[in-house]
């Protein structure tokens, strides 16, 4: 291999990392000059408590989301029970419900003054004790319901490709189906489970909307508090960097723990194994689990939203919603494609070069998901302003070159959501054995042809997953959209923000519902594709 070939992947990786790098530099610069007295106050009164809360929250959410996601993925991928075909795609739908919406619906309907406890007290008397929804358990449950689809999606892909076969192997060695699940299928799907769990963990760390509804203090609320309440953006950015360092450390430990284990699953030539039929009570237990998760995570919130939306539709619903929806979908679509393209570049770079520079660049490029959105938005805006200033120095003129353009907005999305596309794409690459590339080369295919005729088709499922995840995440995204959108580029999420900021949750139901509806199509499309791919295998 010539030196130029070795050099190119590193350059490509650095190029992909540039948006996040610029944002990171802006955040680091912004964090300097924090008030030491303020830090002393935070150390004394705030940090220990929010750190503890955050740890409890992340552990709780990741545990429950992983359990739910894995169990449901296993049931729909490797078993047969009443309603399986429906649940296999329907269980992804909660992904389209933003966590902050789910949180508010839960509090509005299940808190003391909510419709459900009011009705229950009406039947059973005022003395009735109900578990308080606005509690640590409540916020964990809500975030887990919002987050489990990430695990579900990843685990299901793994189970579909080699879960049933591994189970048969385990059975032939004397393990029952459930022992097989825990001793084989789950350990085997670990990289994907870990990928999904990491997304959930980062989403939880960065969440502000849902924890605010529950008034649950986390690192992120402390960051907001320092900025909004204490008027110290420096301290806020400093806290964000601290959080980021912890995340980076956690990821590094995870990587070390994974060690040399590599999972080039040989899914070529495997005939798909038979599903495990769950008969009688077992089948109905599976149905009950799937149905209650679906109901709590999607159906009930959707019904509540629809009811609220109906009340305000006359007031708010007009043709503007078409343009909100159009902008939302096109921004989400563009961001998804852009993130995917960059994730592919990054995937190739890391596949062809194990160099330190490449790996480091890949890590930087995918850090953005763990940063609270608003902090990232500050970084984006600051970085853009710096770039624009540079541009003015070089090219002269006034005003902005990037700031206030759709491009700037997309840049912000890339910085934040590249990780989300990176995971599935990387997982796809891991499963293309080098032998296949060699075989293709042997058949005289050029690099371009190898990409087009071998990689892209084989990456299919990963690409679909990446597109869906970014698409849905961008639709729900608020802080970056708010801070960097061009004039007139209001989206559905912006409408949700404007309503909720004024406490008008019922009126926020309309745009929320629109987000959910817009998210349905890609979710259904993706599951359909996954099923088809699995059947073809």
């Amino acid at each position: 291999m010539t030196s130029s070939q070795r050099f190119t992947p590193a350059l490509a990786a650095i190029a992909v990392a540039l948006p996040m790098l610029a944002v990171l530099i802006a955040i680091v610069q912004g964090a300097s000059g924090g008030d030491t007295e303020l830090w002393a106050h935070l150390r004394e009164w705030v940090l220990a408590r929010v750190a503890w809360n955050t740890v409890i929250l992340v552990i709780g959410v990741v545990t429950i989301a992983s359990l739910l996601g894995t169990a449901l993925a296993w049931l729909t991928a490797a078993c047969e029970f009443p309603g399986r075909a429906f649940f296999s795609w329907a269980l992804l739908l909660p992904m389209a419900v933003p966590a902050y919406v789910l949180a508010f619906v839960a509090v509005a309907t299940l808190d003391y003054a909510g419709a459900v406890p009011v009705a229950l007290r009406g039947w059973f008397g005022d003395g009735l004790w109900l578990p308080p929804i606005r509690s640590t358990a409540g916020v964990i449950l809500v975030l887990a319901l919002a987050g489990y689809p990430y695990v579900y999606l990843m685990a299901r892909g793994a189970f579909l490709t080699h879960g049933a076969r591994a189970l048969e192997a385990a059975q032939s060695l004397g393990l029952g189906p459930w022992q097989g699940l825990f001793r084989v299928a789950v350990p085997l799907a670990r990289p994907w489970l870990a990928g999904g769990a990491a997304l959930v963990a980062m989403e939880t760390l960065a969440d502000f909307g849902a924890v605010s509804v529950f008034n649950y203090d986390t690192f992120t609320t402390a960051i907001y508090q320092s900025w909004y309440g204490l008027f110290s953006i420096e301290t806020a950015l400093g806290l964000a960097l601290l959080l980021l360092a912890l995340v980076a450390a956690a990821l590094a430990i995870e990587r070390l723990a994974r060690g040399r284990a590599r999972y080039a699953a040989s899914d070529a030539g495997v005939r798909s194994a038979a599903r495990l039929g769950l008969r009688g009570a077992r089948g109905w237990i599976a149905f009950g689990l799937a149905a209650s998760v679906f109901a709590l995570g999607f159906a009930l919130p959707a019904v509540v939203l629809a009811q609220w939306a109906w009340q305000v539709a006359a007031l708010d619903l007009d043709t503007r919603y078409l343009s909100y929806a159009f902008r939302t979908v096109s921004l989400a679509g563009l961001a998804a494609i852009l993130c995917l393209a960059l994730a592919l570049v990054l995937g190739y770079a890391t596949r062809f070069s194990a160099g330190r520079v490449t790996q480091a660049a890949a890590r930087v490029a995918t850090l953005g998901y763990a940063v609270p959105g608003a902090v990232l938005a500050v970084g984006v805006v600051t970085a853009l302003a710096t770039i624009d200033a540079l541009w003015r120095t070089i090219a002269g003129g006034e005003g902005f070159w990037l700031q206030g353009t759709v491009f700037a907005l997309l840049l912000g999305y890339v910085a934040r959501f590249l990780t989300v596309a990176h995971g599935p794409v990387q997982g796809g690459f891991a499963r293309i054995r080098p032998a296949l590339e060699e075989a293709a080369r042997g058949l005289g295919l050029s690099t371009r042809e190898v990409v087009a005729r071998l990689h892209l088709p084989l990456l299919g499922a990963g690409i679909g997953t990446a597109l869906l995840l970014v698409f849905v995440d961008v639709m729900k995204e608020m802080p970056i959209t708010l801070m960097t959108r061009p004039f007139g580029w209001d989206t559905l999420a912006v409408r949700v923000f404007e309503m909720t900021a004024e406490g008008e949750w019922e009126r926020a139901a309309l745009p929320s519902l629109a987000i959910v509806l817009a998210g349905l199509l890609p979710v259904i499309l993706l599951t359909w594709r996954m099923e088809r791919a699995a059947r073809a295998a």
Partner: protein, 340 residues
């Protein structure tokens, strides 16, 4: 369709839309008025459109929370397109002036319309609507005679009967800031601690939830911005919660403002001043305030009937700019006192 073709087909519109974004940026060369507004679009949209029609200009706006808008103004610096900054909290206006983002204007019209305690002495911002933060009580379980001051909500009789919104919200922070200005830090901290000791439930994330909790019987009294009750009362006639004007014999009820100021780097300064004056004019004042059940800042303009029904009250005459200055100290006090 092969994936490769699909990708190219999808990438093209990306570039096209991005290019469009760039082009639309270049087009904005007329003399539109650019507003950065923390007052949400549904509350100002009609007025923006109307003013634009009247003046035959385009009023362009973006909405966000106050803090991010201030940060955006700082980042954009001299090149910011913004002419006007509208906030829903005096603290944000104070912060913007501290960062040098707002410029003083001289307008006899505004000075006449807006009372002195609701505007910056240097003319960098002006209050446009007044929001009172006061006591709400259950009409079923509380008699107004039991109520007097904010501080009295810390009395033993309210043990387990008080509801508060989150201490992380700016409305509460400015309330505490006001108390600090009024009675000093230590006394204010004692009051806050006594409130926290009286809480019937974890602090709520919104005033609306809090009011619903009072109505449902979870607690009997709370502190809210009056307009939230206005909304609920007009939606649900007979809503069993009423407003009590706190501190009427102790300096007046705490008020905050939604207001605006002309930016330092305004490109369309004259228009921005004219727009502020238009917003402060009596006819517009009614609508500006009433869309959100607030009180007009203009002393001579009446609020909505549902708001007027709560009776008149004496506001605390501390300049609201003072609230911003004190807010960071108030936040620390809240942290110490454990008001989550």
């Amino acid at each position: 369709m092969s994936l490769r073709i699909a990708l190219t087909r999808l990438l093209m519109p990306t570039l096209m839309v991005a290019a469009l974004g760039l082009a639309s940026q270049a087009q904005a060369a007329g003399s539109p008025l650019v507003v950065y507004s923390a007052r949400k679009y549904q509350l100002v949209e009609q007025l923006f459109l109307e003013y634009g029609r009247e003046r035959d200009i385009e009023v362009k706006s973006v909405t966000d929370d106050g803090a991010p808008l201030v940060q955006r103004l700082i980042a954009e610096g001299a090149n910011s397109p913004a002419d006007l900054f509208i906030s829903v909290d005096a603290g944000d206006l104070w912060r913007a002036t501290q960062a040098g983002l707002l410029s003083p204007i001289k307008s006899p019209l505004l000075e006449a319309a807006i009372p002195a305690h609701l505007r910056d002495p240097d003319g960098r911002w002006f209050g446009l609507a007044v929001r009172a933060r006061t006591i709400a009580y259950s009409t079923e379980r509380v008699k107004p005679v039991e109520l007097s001051t904010y501080a009295a909500l810390g009395d033993a009789r309210w043990k387990g009967r008080l509801c508060l919104r989150s201490g992380k919200h700016v409305y509460n922070q400015s309330l505490v800031a006001m108390m600090m200005v009024d009675i000093g830090e230590q006394a204010a901290e004692r009051v806050v601690r006594s409130w926290v000791a009286n809480l019937a439930a974890e602090p709520f994330s919104s005033d609306t939830l809090l009011l619903n909790a009072i109505a449902a019987g979870q607690c009997d009294v709370g502190i809210v911005n009056s307009y939230y009750l206005g909304r609920l009362q007009s939606e649900k006639p007979g809503f069993p919660v009423q407003i009590f004007w706190a501190d009427q014999k102790a300096g007046g009820t705490h008020v905050n403002i939604s207001g605006g100021g002309v930016t330092t780097h305004a490109k369309n300064r004259a228009e921005a001043i004219r727009f502020l004056e238009w917003l402060a004019s009596p006819a517009i004042q009614t609508r500006f305030a009433s869309v959100n059940f607030e009180f007009p800042a203009h002393a001579g303009v009446d609020p909505l009937p549902v708001v007027a029904a709560w009776g008149t009250f004496e506001p605390k005459l501390v300049n609201v700019g003072k609230l911003g200055e004190t807010q960071p100290a108030a936040v620390r006090l809240l942290d110490r006192a454990g008001w989550r």
